[in-house]
Every structure is written in C-alpha cells, then in structure tokens.
C-alpha cells in the first residue's frame, strides 16, 4: 500500500488521486470505492452529486485558486495541492490561505513533485499530509526523511504551524 506522511508519521494510505475530465457525468465518473481526490473542475461540475460522499477529496493544480473553493469547504474532507515541479511554490500560498483565511481544518495534502528537502516548508504552511510520488522514496528512505520535518527548531516568522513570530514567542535579550 502506498505510504504518506501524516502529522509527522509514515502511514499507509489508500486514497487515489484521480485525473478526470469534468465533462463526464457523475454516473460516468465511476468512482472507485474508498477515499479519492477528484480534480477541482470535476468537483465544480458535480458538486451536488459528490457532496457528502465519504472519503471525498478535491485536488488543485498549482495554477488553480483555492479561492474557488470558498463556500464548499465544509463538504470537502481533504484537499490535495499539486506541485507540478517542486520549484513551483504556489501551493505554499494556497495551503497557507486555506488554513488562515478560510480556516480549513480538513487534511491538506502535498502531492506531485514532493521532496524531503521541502517538507519543513510544507509543514510550516499548513500541509498535514505529505505524499511523495510512488517510488520516489523506499519505505526506509521515507522514514529517514521524517528528519527533514525538523530541520529548524525555532523559526523566525509566524506561519501556520507556529502562528506567533519568534519576537512574540520568546523573550530575546538585547
């Protein structure tokens, strides 16, 4: 079973990330049983039919805006944000916006070109699930990669994981 990092631990995960065409009707979607992530466009086209389905997630590409999910967030259990390339940093802002402006409390999952050297930044921006591509890391390597979540123990700025900046958290001597 594929693995992912959830809340700082490696777990098994069965969710499928579906690449679908929104023009297909919901009946034609033929969604597999169990947890799935459907593309934003499919969600938007078939909200009514998909709403409330157990294990339903929506995934967004880096060019897609989380603002388009405003109003839907209560019906979506998990959101995956795709990194088409790990150097495309838009999903960091998307995750931060979901957690802060939209107060989203469901899972936010990093998918796509997800590498351990960015885990720390992802976690800080509100990703609680991190899913490197299948085969990118062996199980042992993924366990080892957990260390990257702890690259820095006391960051300066406020972010999602630490909503106060260092200058408010700590008494720093002049």
């Amino acid at each position: 079973m594929p693995k992912l990092i959830k809340n700082g631990r490696v777990i098994d995960d069965a969710a499928e990330i579906l690449v679908l065409d929104e023009v297909q009707g919901p009946e034609a979607l033929n969604l597999p049983d169990g947890p799935v992530f459907v593309p934003l466009a499919v969600w938007q086209a078939h909200k009514g039919a998909l709403s409330g389905r157990a294990g339903l997630g929506v995934w967004l590409d880096s060019s897609e805006s989380v603002d388009d999910l405003e109003g839907d967030l209560d019906s979506i259990g998990a959101i995956a944000l795709n990194f088409p390339k790990f150097t495309d940093g838009r999903a960091y802002s998307s995750a931060a916006l979901l957690r802060s402006r939209y107060a989203y409390t469901g899972e936010i999952r990093a998918i796509g070109d997800v590498l351990r050297d960015q885990f720390f930044f992802m976690q800080r921006c509100g990703f609680d699930a991190i899913q490197p591509k299948a085969g990118k890391y062996s199980d042992a390597q993924l366990e080892e990669a957990l260390a990257s979540l702890k690259d820095f123990s006391t960051p300066y700025q406020a972010a999602i994981d630490q909503p106060e900046p260092l200058f408010r958290r700590a008494q720093r001597a002049a």
Binding site: S93, S100, D117
Partner: protein
C-alpha cells in the same frame, strides 16, 4: 552591529547541518542535479566555469573585524587566497570544492555568518546604505529595519520558491545610496507629519533583461506594518507572478502587466487580512534590534583636526586620497574612509587574504572593529578619526588599498564576467582593467570628475550597467564577445536607465570608445557640469557622432 543571540545562532547551525546532509545525499547520488540545484543556490553555491562559486551573505554590508578575519582564513584555506565583493554587498569565493562547502559554512557559522538565500528564487540578502549611521543626510538609520526584515525573510516557508529572485533594499537618507528604485521592493524610511516612522514602498524595479524603475505603491506604511505589507506583496507575487518564462518572471513584469494601480489594489486587499496580525512589529522587538546599532563611543573632537590639515598640505598624494576617498562624517573630527578595491592591477572588487587581515586590523585600530562592503565593490571604514587618517592611508597605500579614485572613471563596478561566471556572454574584468590602464593619469581623472562606469558580462546585470553613466554590456554575437555601450544611466535619487548608443564593439576597441566618449564630454561640458548632466542636457547625438563618426551616422540614418 547586530550580534546573534542563541536563537539566531541555532538557526545558522541547523542550516549547516541541513546542508551538510544535503551535500552528502547529493554526492551519494540520492539527490539529482535538478533536485540539488535550488538547495545549493539557496546556500549561495553556483557551479561555475572552474569550480563551485560560494556567495556568502553580508547582511546590508556590515562586517565585524572577526568576520573579516574569518573570510581571510577561508580565502587562504579553501580558495586561492582572495575573495570578491559583489554588487549586493556580499562576498564571493571562486574556487571552493563542493565537498568542503559544508565545512566552510560551519566555519562561517562560528562568526555569525552564513550563505543563506544569497541566490535562488527567494528573498535575497537585503541591501542598504553603506554609510548608514554615519552620513550627515540620514534621517532614520536603516540598519535595524534591515535586520528585522532579514530575520523575517530567513527561511520564510511560503516564499522559498518564488517565480524568480527577489531583492529588497532600504534607504533612510536624503540621498539614495541603496539603488532602491531598481529593486523588487525598495523601501525609503521617512517620517509622517506626526513624526512617526514609516516606509515609502516602491515595487517592480529591477535591472536584468528588462530594466524598469520601481513605482510607488504606498507613500507611507507605518513601521508596525512593514512585515505584513511585505508579506502581502510577496503573496500576490508568489500566486500570480509568471512561471512559464524565466525572463518574464520577476515581479516587475507582473506589476507592468497589471498596472501599478491594480497591483496596489491586489496587495492592499491581501494586506487587509494580514494587517494587525501576529507579524505586526512590536516596539519591544524594534528596540531590541535597534539596541545593537548604538552610537559608538565617539570622542569629543574639534571639527578640523590641526594635524590632519597640515598633513594634507604637506603631502599631495595624501591630499588627493582624502579629496576622493575620505567623506564627511556626521560627528565632528571623524571621517568615513573608502578603501578602494579598484587597483588597476586586480579585478574590481577583489581582495586578498592578506589585505582582508590588514583591513580587520585597521578596523580594530581605527574604526570600532567594523567594516562595510558597498554595492560599488569597495570597503568602508565608517568611523575613523581625522587624526588617524594619515597613518591609515600610509598602511592602505602600502598594500594597494588606497587607490584615490572613489567615484571616478576607474572606480568601475564590474561583475566577475566570463572569466568566472558560467552565465556570462563575455569577459568583463579585462575590459575594466584595460580602461583603468588607459586612464591612469590621476590629474586627468580628476578633471573628468564624478562619473560612474559599470560593466556587466551578460543581461543579468550584476554589474549594474543599466544605471552606469556609462554602461558596458557583454553580448554574444555568433560565439564572439562584443560590448554594447549605453549612456545616461544613473543610480540614486535621479535613477535612470541608460540608452544604447549603437552597434557594439570588440574588446580591443573599448578603451578607444571610452576615450572618445570622454572627449565629447570634455568638449561639451558647461560650467563644470558632471558627465551625467552633460549627457542629460545634450542627449546622445554628440556622443554617437564622437564615437561612430559622421559617415557612420549618415549611413545609419539612410538605412533607418
């Protein structure tokens, strides 16, 4: 200057450990070249023509003598005995081996230094006025604000993978000495009518392929909000800046595409959410940081030291040096000294390990143990007693650091160019040295007066050629190195982008071309006006005529 507390030190130490592990995984084949590239770049490590090049951060140009000694040690131990001062006030080493870079970073961390975010598509080293705290025209010291922003921008998790690099500069004086109009964000410290401190905010300036002068999007952001305001700008840029084309990915392209009014609207809409949030600065934090930039223990001295006056009268070489390289200080009896790195025998901005050690010694003896690096690639001792100037000059002269040409034609800003840089289209150092060799007569240089000649080896404009009064750009024509000349660029309060005068030149022609340009200026100048004023008054035509000759101009017009 700012000294690390245990929090700052821990972050830098953890960075060393992180990069050590990343380098180990790269060398073990666990990280691909593509995966390692941004990681090493965000540590200032380029793969260059000869070896990796390591760019060490010098936050807003400030160095302690201890740090300078460490740089000397690194130059001696891990490099070929010299270092290079960059146009972002940083220090570069051209010859370190990849596998020893973690060791170099560990050594730097011992003296509160690092290479964090000196390259890559992230917020770069924040630059500022090299005369901060000592210039007479300063109204607000920019250094504490630079440090506050440095900490905020260090490993900012949301902005580590921006569309492109992002540069911020801060100035707090009458004269802009930080090129704030040519930065992604330019900040000008000011006071409002009530006397409160805030920032005028410019965005979308930059050099590079498409030089653009920044535009104001807010005339006064109160100091408490400067972090949240910057975050709003960065978030709009991170979300909407172009990522499909490297050449159109800087924030200036986004600002131009949206128009500054729409860009401002988006920023302020975003800011409404972050404003007054946790990142709002506190008086306690600003006071804590500002306490590191206290006034040194100046002595009460007469405004004019009698010995200094007689030394100048007795020694013309000393007098010449003081005329150019010694600047007025806000405290009576003190002076700002520019240690020139423009000795014609060396590459502009280069300094040897031995010289670095000596500079550290002079800093301790004469300038409260501090040194500054300038974006014009010189070093500054900012707090020297007039009574010490002669002794300092003798020592500097003995080691080639007293070239008396600050602000003159041969005080050239020059990138490392094709001799070192893998990005360059053409070499730049030999052009600089050839021009310096042509103009080796000091009296003639003094007659030409204030002028800025900047050379970049490629469109990336590290040598700031767009804002040189004379700008030289290395271009590639069918695999050959050619040089394009522009005139009329300027930095400072009246920033302007130079205009290309015509067809480009071979390297060997360049000293003649500069001679012809200077001849035109000397023939055209009125009432002692500076070179840039003449260019602005006459336009380019007389210069084109002087450089290309009448026949060439006529031919060009016929073909137009």
């Amino acid at each position: 200057m700012y000294r690390y507390d245990p929090y700052d030190q821990k972050i830098v130490d953890e960075r060393v450990a992180q990069f050590r592990d990343q380098t180990r995984r790269y060398l073990a084949g666990e990280l691909t070249d593509d995966e390692f590239r941004p990681l090493r770049l965000q540590n200032g490590l380029y793969i260059q023509r000869h070896a990796p090049m390591l760019r060490v951060a010098v936050p807003y140009g400030l160095l302690s003598s201890t740090q300078v000694r460490k740089l000397a040690h690194i130059a001696r131990t891990h490099d070929k005995g010299y270092a290079h001062i960059t146009t972002r006030q940083n220090v570069q080493f051209n010859w370190p081996e990849l596998k020893v870079v973690p060791e170099i970073l560990a050594e730097l961390a011992q003296v509160q230094m690092h290479a964090i975010q000196t390259s890559g598509a992230c917020i770069r080293n924040i630059t500022s006025d090299p005369f901060a705290g000592v210039a007479g025209d300063e109204y607000i010291d920019p250094r504490p604000w630079c440090e506050v922003l440095r900490q905020w921008s260090t490993f900012h998790p949301e902005f580590a993978f921006l569309p492109r690099k992002f540069k911020i500069a801060v100035n707090g004086a009458d004269q802009d000495r930080a090129v704030i109009q040519c930065h992604d964000i330019g900040l000008e410290l000011k006071r409002n009518a009530a006397g409160e401190i805030g920032f005028r905010v410019l965005v979308g300036g930059g050099m590079g392929r498409t030089p653009i002068i920044g535009e104001e999007i807010n005339d006064f952001v109160p100091w408490q909000h400067i972090i949240t305001y910057n975050e709003a700008i960065l978030r709009v840029y991170n979300r909407y800046g172009r990522r499909d084309n490297l050449y159109k990915a800087r924030i200036k392209i986004l600002v131009k595409a949206l128009g500054v009014a729409e860009f401002k609207r988006q920023v302020e809409e975003e800011w409404a959410f972050g404003k007054d949030g946790a990142n709002t600065l506190t008086e306690a934090e600003v006071a804590r940081v500002a306490a590191h930039f206290t006034t040194p223990a100046y002595e009460a001295l007469p405004g004019e030291d009698a010995g200094y006056a007689s030394q100048r009268a007795a020694n013309t070489a000393f007098a010449a040096w003081t005329r150019r390289n010694v600047l007025a200080h806000k405290v009576p009896g003190y002076a700002i000294v520019v240690l020139s790195l423009k000795n014609p025998a060396t590459a502009p901005g280069d300094i040897t390990a031995e010289q670095l050690d000596l500079v550290a010694e002079w800093a301790d003896a004469y300038s409260f143990g501090e040194v500054r690096a300038t974006h014009e690639q010189n070093l500054v001792l900012a707090d020297v007693k007039q009574a010490d100037l002669f002794a300092l000059w003798e020592k500097a002269r003995a080691t080639g650091l007293a070239t008396p040409t600050f602000g003159l034609l041969t005080d050239i800003i020059c990138c490392p160019g094709g001799d070192f840089c893998a990005l360059a289209n053409a070499k730049s150092i030999p052009i600089a040295n050839a021009i310096q060799a042509r103009f080796d007569d000091l009296d003639y240089l003094y007659d030409i007066g204030d002028i800025e000649l900047n050379i970049s080896g490629c469109m990336n404009s590290c040598g700031h050629h767009h804002v040189g009064h004379i700008g030289i750009l290395g271009v590639d024509k069918n695999g050959e190195e050619w040089y394009q000349v522009s005139l009329g660029g300027a930095q400072g309060n009246h920033t302007s982008i130079g205009k290309v005068i015509g067809r480009s030149f071979a390297a060997a022609e360049m000293p003649d071309v500069i001679s012809k340009i200077i001849d035109v200026y000397r023939a055209q100048r009125q009432d002692g006006e500076r070179f840039i004023d003449t260019v602005r008054r006459t336009g380019l035509d007389p210069f084109k005529l002087g450089v290309y000759g009448e026949a060439a101009i006529i031919e060009r017009k016929q073909h137009a």
